[in-house]
Amino acid sequence: MELFKYTAHQLHEKLVSKEVSAVELTKSVLARVDAVEKDVQSYITQTRESALKQAEAVDAKIGQGQTISTLAGIPGALKDNMCTQGTKTTCASKILANFVPPYNATVVEKLMAEDTVVIGKANMDEFAMGGSTENSGFFPSRNPWDLATVPGGSSGGSAAAVAAGEAIWALGSDTGGSIRQPAAYCGLVGMKPTYGRVSRYGLVAYASSLDQIGPITRDVTDCAHVLNVICGHDAKDSTSINTGVPDYTKSLVNDIKGLKIGLPREYFASGMDPEVERAINKAIEQLVSLGAEYKEISMPHTEYALSAYYMIAPAEASSNLARYDGVSFGQRVEGTDIVDMYKKTRSAFLGAEVKRRIMLGTYALSAGYHDAYYVKALQVRTLVKKDFDKAFHDVDVIITPTAPTTAFKLGEKTNDPLAMYLQDVCTIPVNLAGVPAVSIPCGFAGGMPIGLQIIAKPLGEETLIRTAYTFEQNNDYHKGFAPLLEVK
């Protein structure tokens, strides 16, 4: 089997036993990139030279008999909204096409300390705004399960790279579902940790109170390993949680006897693809057969969560993106005076969806509408959070579909922003409440992967891993590959 088809934990064994060298592994992945990148278009920037150097350093350590961590020497991808010192970080936006950060995001520092290998910066929807990666300012990425479909978004490049074998693991970011939905569309494991569990320092902000970085991997074991590296308090992030990080691999236990599962009726309402519904129900039955108990619950404010999100996220975004003005970094269009320069620069280099959300957010915050829209949305957020708090008094995890459908065709929803927003209906409430959630593959519809979402209470990542691992180990979805990987 080609090296890029293995998981990180399997490859770690091969490195340690010297069956394979880190350089060989990196070269294998790079060759894979050369073979399929023209079709998948996962990467905005490839960092091939530094990847090989990183691999060489790991081989040197192994040669000296040093112990190496699980992710050492394993090639991965970073969504291009995480600052990498000395390497272009564009957020898939023309306005940052030439931006080279003079500093590293904290997660990048942590990964470097583990001697991981970074193949490149992955494509995304511009400034993380979108659900298909079609809003990238450069080019769309494609789903390795069907190149005519989207890989999901906004972490579409990260998911496509892992599903195509162009990376063994990846980091994405999730503000309204942007890790979980692409993971679902691409048949992968994608987790959004509890808000504050992973440092946001160096993550280019979209909606500060909702953004979180998380792993996109082939299986739950790899997810646990990546979490071990990236989670933890950061003094540079005032919103980062200050409690110790457990060893998440200890939760890789195939046992959910007595686990209480909640099924919120509002998530199973109309709008779901019948095949998706069937797969989800089958998955739930299986979990029950494995020893879990389920209970139907109600989360009555679910229907308001989407609207609240589309007030809060754009409001924060309108403020976060004000700095893209051509003054001290990024692209610039000269103007007759500074205001003219601001307008010309932003209008020329920001994409349509970004502009839409900036204006929506500015409107929601403006005098006269501030209380009616923005404050109201914050109040609804409280109610959504309370729904979760209440639910977790009765159940250990909540199970829902990750998305109402499987991956849609490229171009299918680009003319209707609202239709695009409605795809997020299952994932958004999680971000509003700040709770952790993971998407794992649970079946197929028309050959396209379906994702099962498991949600836990704050700092409940261990429960998520145990539940996800149990389901995974009693199925074979993590062993399958996208058709693209089968093509020689």
């Binding site: 909204n81 995480m82 600052c83 970080t89 957020c91 940052l96 931006f99 950060p101 003079p102 500093y103 995001a105 946001r200 320092y201 160096g202 993550l203 280019v204 902000a205 909606a207 500060s208 109170s209 003094a235 540079k236 992030d237 005032s238 919103t239 409001a315 924060e316 309108s318 403020s319 004000a322 700095r323 003005d325 003054v327 001290s328 970094f329 500074i338 205001v339 601001y342 500015t362 915050l365 403006s366 005098a367 501030h370 923005y374």
Partner: protein, 480 residues
């Protein structure tokens, strides 16, 4: 129509912390452009702020010194607007829950005391500096931006519109400055921008309570500008009203050179700041115990110090007030008195000769070339009778330029006062003999004529004779 002026002041002060409010860059003034910056204060993509605990402590100190209530729950908000000195195009400030509210401060103008209300004190970050090639920002083709100052911590102190004259505004500003200096939270140098003042001015018919339309005045860069600017604006608004017009709510800038205010007309489009709670910072909850601890550890404030000088040294309220106007002056006073000099004499010298020299050279007491101990020693020489008050003034001049001690100068110049009558008696007799007219006048009852004779004797002794001794010797001789 008789109008009264209604004035409110917004004072911004830069806090003298070691590092900026949200990052570890130095706050040092005067560094080379863009050398005290980092990704955080540059507002680069992905950065996050972390609050400097000293800023919160200083804010509480100031709030307490201004008799405010420290809010138990306080938070930061973003004030959104575009300007090139603001890297993120929003300023992180405090909007609806500032750290301190509802305070007051007492001022005295022309002997009358008045209480000025303080609406709020809040923390925020400073913006960068713009440098322009032309004479003014607006006449230049381009502008240059220095971000050293972005992120320097600021406190904004907003007064109630309780002041009714330019003098009151000035007195309030001076009092706030003194308090900030005594608290040791700011350098308070208006010329360096560590203390800034904007004024809101409106008029209303005397005796009414409804506020008139106000104009905001900016660019009041010195105490003088504050006073002149307010006086001018009050006059301008009165003219507008007298001619039947309406005062426009607007921002105006003060031109000190021309002595006029100009409308910054385009700022009239009300800036919609679209405040939102700062998502990257969590709330500040100052517990009552901490507030009490800070309150107990507050340094002595100007009013208390003034009272101490009055009670402890018997200084008049006026003198004590002048001495304590600046902490540096008050410290100098304390140090000098601490060297066993008489308090009232020190006070007189500080308010007299010392201040005169400082003003002539445009320097502050901190740069006074005569040290507190040196002044005390000079005063000791006067009290011992070694030199007269008049000679002492000359000695002081010498001390100022040469920086030598009084005793050294007195010795070098042979200025020791002559208090031995035997040394002088010859000159007394000679002067009496040489001035029969004055003697006759004195004997005829013109007591003042003795002054001329004393003057002659002093001249002959080059001012060294003890004037009291000369006076009594003369009277002895003339009446004898």
């Amino acid at each position: 129509m008789d109008y009264e002026i209604v004035i409110g002041l917004e004072i911004h002060t830069e806090l003298k912390t070691h590092s900026k409010i949200f990052c570890g860059c130095s706050t040092k003034f005067g560094s080379e452009q863009n050398t005290n910056v980092c990704p955080v204060c540059l507002g680069l993509p992905g950065v996050l702020p972390v609050i400097n605990e000293k800023v919160v402590e200083f804010a509480v100190r100031v709030g307490l010194a201004l008799n405010c209530e420290i809010l138990p729950f306080s938070k930061f908000d973003r004030k959104n607007y575009y300007y090139p000195d603001l890297p993120k195009n929003f300023q992180t400030s405090q909007y609806d829950l500032p750290i301190a509210v509802n305070g007051h401060l007492d001022i005295e103008v022309n002997g009358e005391k008045k209480r000025i209300g303080i609406t709020r004190v809040h923390m925020e970050e400073d913006a960068g500096k713009l440098v322009h090639s032309g004479a003014t920002i607006t006449s230049s083709d381009s502008a240059l931006v220095d971000y050293n100052r972005t992120g320097v911590p600021l406190l904004e102190i907003v007064s109630e519109p309780d002041m009714s004259s330019a003098e009151e505004a000035r007195a309030y500003l001076e009092k706030v400055k003194a308090i900030l200096e005594y608290l040791d939270v700011s350098d308070c140098k208006m010329e360096e921008g560590s203390l800034r003042c904007d004024a809101n001015i409106s008029l209303r018919p005397r005796g009414t309570t409804t506020l008139g339309t106000k104009a905001e005045m900016k660019n009041l860069n010195s105490f003088r500008s504050v006073q002149r600017g307010i006086e001018y604006e009050a006059m301008r608004q009165e003219e507008v009203l007298e001619e039947g017009g309406r005062v426009v709510q607007e921002t105006r800038t003060w031109d000190e050179a021309k002595g006029i205010s100009l409308s910054m007309r385009s700022k009239e489009q009300a800036n919609d700041y679209r405040y939102l709670p700062e998502p990257d910072l969590v709330p500040i909850i100052v517990d009552p115990a901490t507030v009490e601890e800070i309150r107990l550890n507050l340094p002595e404030l100007p009013d208390a110090r003034k009272q101490r000088l009055m009670d402890g040294y018997g200084l008049s309220e006026y003198d004590a007030a002048v001495i304590t106007t600046s902490k540096a002056m008050a410290d100098y006073f304390d140090q000098s008195v601490g060297c066993n000099a008489d308090a009232k004499t020190v006070a007189n010298w500080l308010m007299g000769e010392v201040s005169k020299h400082l003003n002539n050279e445009g320097i502050s007491i901190l740069e006074c070339p005569v040290a507190p101990k040196q002044l005390a020693d000079l005063i000791a020489l006067i009290e011992k009778g070694t030199i007269s008050n008049k000679i002492a003034k000359a000695v002081f001049e010498d001390m100022w330029t040469s920086r030598k001690d009084a005793e050294v100068i007195v010795k070098e110049k042979g200025l020791v006062q002559i208090s031995d009558s035997s040394e002088v008696i010859g000159i007394v007799d000679a002067v009496i003999a040489a001035n029969p007219q004055s003697v006759a006048d004195f004997n005829a009852g013109k007591d003042k004529a003795i002054g001329f004779l004393v003057g002659q004797i002093m001249k002959q002794t080059k001012g060294r004779a003890n004037p009291d001794m000369v006076n009594s010797l003369l009277r002895e001789r003339l009446q004898g």
